[in-house]
Amino acid sequence: MATPSKTPPGSDPKQLERTGTVREIGSQAVWSLSSCKPGFGVDQLRDDNLETYWQSDGSQPHLVNIQFRRKTTVKMLCMYADYKSDESYTPSKISVRVGNNFHNLQEIRLEMVEPSGWIHIPLLDTVNNPIRTFMIQIAVLANHQNGRDTHMRQIKVYTPVEESSIGKFPRCTTVDFMMYRTIR
């Protein structure tokens, strides 16, 4: 059996943000973890710092729950995992579930092999539109080298930006148009 190729790192989501097509909405959600080691919890997962991480402290699967106040359109999820620094703590099998509450989650499964950076997980429905959901659950089902606990360095949730100034049209591209789009 051929060795599965390593998962290539994705681009830095910050650059994505600057295009103005997506917006990070993790701050609008309530984050919770199934377990964590003291000092390695949600804050470290959401602090924009790749040096700090979440370390779980229980049995698998380890869960990250993201609950929004209202049904939110989510386009994609970005996770940072690095095999070189985390080794056996690096997740290898992740299941992303979305739904309205804990009891009706639908799954999107993902497998990673020795990731070394950002992983972009698009969350699209059957017609390739971003999904609208109340909550997202990220379950770490297995780690590399069968490690028990997992490290996750950063997770970001993105929603598409509707450039709706007025009218149901897509965003305009030239400055000339954009100047007149809105009064500020």
């Binding site: 917006r23 994609m76 698009p122 007025i166 591209t173 030239t174 148009f177 009064i183 500020r184």
Partner: protein, 835 residues
């Protein structure tokens, strides 16, 4: 008692005039501890206030009884600054709940400073939502003192339409009765109404002065607020300012004038109240302020000189002659001029004055040769002359003059008259005249009858200068009024007609920049604002508009440079933080932008634009409730802030509450009727409400107002498209293509129209152009349009390629759709080949 106080008081004023606040405060505290008089209390409070500690002044005055008008005024001012509006109002009018004083009562109580009191009261009323009363107060304040700009500005901002022609006019009463304020200009004190007709009388009274009176007069003069002296100084060899003054060569004087101006301008803000008395006696030589017949010299620099004079509040000697006289005197008085400038030195002054008299000759030697002989001649006489000339009738020196008034009631009016006539422009006027007047003076002191002509001349020169200023203020007032009613084109044309030395100032250019901004002419606005930055890099007012202009133009480098510069320069100004917020908003870092806008609000909760910008940021982060609250706050602060009304309309539009959206947009439009962007939005909302005819009408109006607005045409085309008027829509879009050839939306809409018309090739072509032009768009709508276009069609080979492409696009949404579009072309080519 007063005798004991005077040297100390003089020392305190001296220190204040030199911004040595610690010294002033210390001395004032000792004086107050020694003498618990209300005057000493006022002096101490003034020291605290001027050194920037309004809270100290407030607590001090609160703790003791304040019955004198000046104490009350200062206390009220502190209250307003500390946002204790109810208290301020109570002090000035006797309270919200109690029986209130009428405006007439206030005028009689506060006398000279009534115009400022009323202006302050107007501020209080406007901030507490009693705009009608506030407007009344402002009007009254302006009628008493037309030199005040801020009541006029406030009236424009609350939506009143004051008439600058009526307001900026010197009534004869004011000219001749001195009224309140504009001490330097008004030749005659209020008590002195008939005197202007009788310069002789003044002379007579002057003649009757005894040497002792002279000393008192000196004190008075010196006590009066600055300007006059400074004006004198410009001409004369003011020892402390610039000795190179008087020369027959006007150029020389011009030079000094310039330097003096810079100093004077410095003095102006610092001297606080004493300098508030309007720009008054401006140079008669500038075109703006009227060229006095006396002096053929070029206007501007001399104007500056005079400006500085008036600014300092010291009464300038009568133009022509007096400057010379003052030269002599000033050179002698050396140190005295310093006091004079500060305007409130007391006892101290006469003494050095006397001393300097003896040293006059060496100093006067610096003055032009013509004067020196005359000056040297009667040294003993000169003090008296100067005292006469330097008497100030400024209201700022009210406390001084009051005291003196008590002692020398008859003399004061005379002094005032004389000093006022003396004001005029300090021009290096005819030396002959100066000599003549000097001789006259000496003759006067000797008991001879003075002709009074020089004073009369001086007086008319002064009047001409004041008229010049008034005419400038009328022009500026008209321009500002037009801008406040958003008649931007008119405002620009009025303000552009100002003389170039006024046009090229930060304030005027800032207003013009704002006018361009409101017209959505962002390129011109940006040019003008960058000029403002070049001329006055310290100007923060108006920079928030500049930053929004750069935001619209998406010039992030310029915007971040501006933001850094302003936040480094002044962290306490809301404008700087608004600029910073705009900078980060442009970088799409909305959380940081929100932080900065909140900071701007903290720094100044009365700055409506900060709330509006914060609201826009919340809209961008989809926190609509918070955004609503912000816009409502902005409206609370300033009802005429049409941007906030627009913001509310936008939120209701997003929430699909189209009726509410329309109402709010229309309210914004009622405030700013010439905004094509607003009209465009109303049109779209009306279309959403199914009132397409109205929508088209509105859009036509918008296009008429501003033919350069491409979005109006675009929306008109889209409404025509929605109403199935495809040909008209296409025509519109073709025109639009010419105007904005690189806009992907245009091609997208054209594609849709062709699709509806069944012309698939053209539709496809346009869609692919649209995709090309929108590389990072990942515009689902365009892709969807293409997908849908081809899903129902089964037979064409091309279709096989498209689902393939769209799937690929979906998976790698981040990638440039450029490549996808290319792929599309390739596939079409291949499929053609296949065929």
């Amino acid at each position: 008692m007063t005798v004991l106080q005077e040297p100390v008081q003089a020392a305190v004023w001296h220190a204040l005039n030199h911004y040595a606040y610690r010294d002033a405060v210390f001395l004032a505290e000792r004086l107050y501890a020694e003498v618990h008089s209300e005057e000493a209390l006022f002096l101490l409070a003034t020291c605290y206030y001027r050194s920037g500690k309004a809270y100290k002044a407030y607590r001090l005055l609160k703790g003791h009884s304040c019955t004198t008008p000046q104490c009350k005024y200062l206390l009220a001012k502190c209250c307003v600054e500390l946002s204790k509006l109810a208290e301020g109002e109570q002090i000035l009018t006797g309270g919200v709940l109690n029986k209130q004083k009428s405006q007439e009562d206030i005028v009689t109580e506060f006398g000279d400073s009534a115009c400022f009191t009323l202006s302050l009261l107007g501020q209080i009323y406007c901030k507490t939502d009693r705009l009608a009363k506030g407007s009344e107060c402002y009007q009254k304040s302006l009628s008493m003192n037309p030199f005040l700009w801020s009541p006029f500005e406030s009236l424009c901002q609350i939506g009143d339409r004051p008439d600058p022609e009526q307001i900026f006019r010197l009534t004869s009463l004011q000219c001749f009765s001195g009224g309140s304020g504009a001490p330097s200009l008004l030749p005659i004190s209020p008590a002195h109404t008939p005197s202007h007709n009788m310069p002789h009388r003044q002379v007579d009274t002057v003649l009757m002065e005894t040497p002792q009176d002279t000393l008192e007069l000196n004190r008075l003069n010196l006590e009066s607020s600055n300007s006059k002296y400074s004006s004198l100084n410009t001409d004369s060899a003011m020892s402390y300012i610039d000795s190179s003054v008087i020369s027959p060569d006007t150029v020389g004087t011009l030079g000094t004038g310039g330097t003096l101006l810079s100093k004077q301008v410095h003095n102006k803000p610092k001297s606080g109240r004493s300098l508030l008395g309007g720009p008054a006696a401006l140079s008669p030589l500038t075109p703006s302020f009227g060229i006095l017949p006396l002096e053929p010299s070029p206007g501007e620099p001399l104007y500056l000189q005079n400006y500085s004079h008036s600014g300092s509040g010291m009464e300038p000697p009568p133009p022509g002659v007096p400057p010379k006289k003052s030269v002599a005197r000033i050179s002698q008085v050396g140190t005295k001029s310093v006091f004079a400038q500060s305007g409130n030195s007391r006892e101290v002054i006469p003494i050095p004055f006397n001393q300097t008299q003896t040293t006059a000759p060496p100093q006067t030697s610096t003055t032009p040769q013509v004067l020196s002989p005359t000056i040297a001649a009667p040294p003993n006489v000169q003090p008296r002359r100067s005292s006469r000339l330097f008497t100030s009738a400024s209201s700022t020196a009210k406390e001084n003059s009051k005291k003196l008034k008590m002692k020398f009631p008859t003399k004061i009016p005379n002094r005032k008259t004389k000093s006022k006539t003396g004001k005029g422009g300090i021009t290096p006027s005819n030396l002959n005249e100066s000599i003549e007047i000097l001789k006259l003076d000496s003759s006067m002191t000797e008991g001879k009858v003075n002709m009074g002509t020089p004073q009369f001349q001086a007086f008319s020169l002064q009047k001409a200068a004041a008229d010049g200023l008034m005419s400038l203020m009328r022009d500026i007032g008209r321009g500002y009024l037009a801008l406040s009613s958003y008649n931007c084109k008119e405002a620009i044309s009025i303000l552009s007609q100002l003389p170039s030395h006024h046009y090229n100032t930060g304030w005027v250019l800032g207003q013009i920049g704002r006018a361009h901004f409101e017209l959505a002419e962002y390129m011109q606005a940006e040019r003008i604002f960058s000029e403002v930055r070049r001329i006055e890099s310290y100007r923060v007012e108006g920079m928030e508009i500049y930053s929004t202009t750069l935001w619209h133009l998406q010039k992030d480098v310029a915007l971040s440079a501006l933001s850094k510069d302003l936040t480094d320069m002044d962290k306490n100004s809301p404008e700087a933080w608004c600029v910073a917020g705009n900078c980060f908003s442009l970088q799409r870092e909305h959380d940081i932008a929100i932080k900065f806008f909140q900071r701007a609000i903290q720094v100044n909760p009365g700055f409506a634009y900060a709330y509006t910008l914060l609201g826009h940021e919340f809209v961008l982060t989809e926190e609509l409730e918070k955004a609503l609250a912000c816009f409502r706050n902005a409206i609370r602060v300033n009802t005429r802030h049409y941007n906030a009304w627009y913001g509310l309309g936008m939120i209701y539009y997003k929430q699909e509450k189209f009726n509410l959206a329309e109402i709010h947009f229309k309210k914004a439009l009622s405030i700013n009727p010439q905004s094509s962007v607003l009209l465009c939005h109303i049109g779209v909302v009306q279309h959403a409400l199914k009132k397409s005819d109205h929508a088209l009408e509105t859009l036509n109006r918008a296009i008429n107002i501003d033919p350069k607005n491409p979005l109006c045409k675009f929306h008109r085309a889209s409404i025509l498209f929605a109403n199935e008027k495809y040909k008209a829509a296409l025509q519109e879009l073709e025109e639009l293509k010419q105007i904005v050839p690189k806009e992907s939306l245009v091609y997208f809409l054209i594609g849709k129209v062709y699709k509806k018309l069944g012309q698939t090739h053209l539709a496809l072509m346009n869609f692919s152009w649209a995709m090309d032009l929108d590389p990072k768009g990942a515009n689902n709508q365009i892709k969807e349009a293409i997908d849908k276009r081809y899903l129902p069609d089964d037979e064409e080979p091309v279709t096989e390629d498209y689902p393939y492409d769209s799937a690929a696009e979906v998976e790698e949404s981040q990638e440039s759709s450029m490549t996808d579009a290319d792929d599309t072309q390739l596939h079409t080519a291949e499929s053609d080949e296949v065929l």
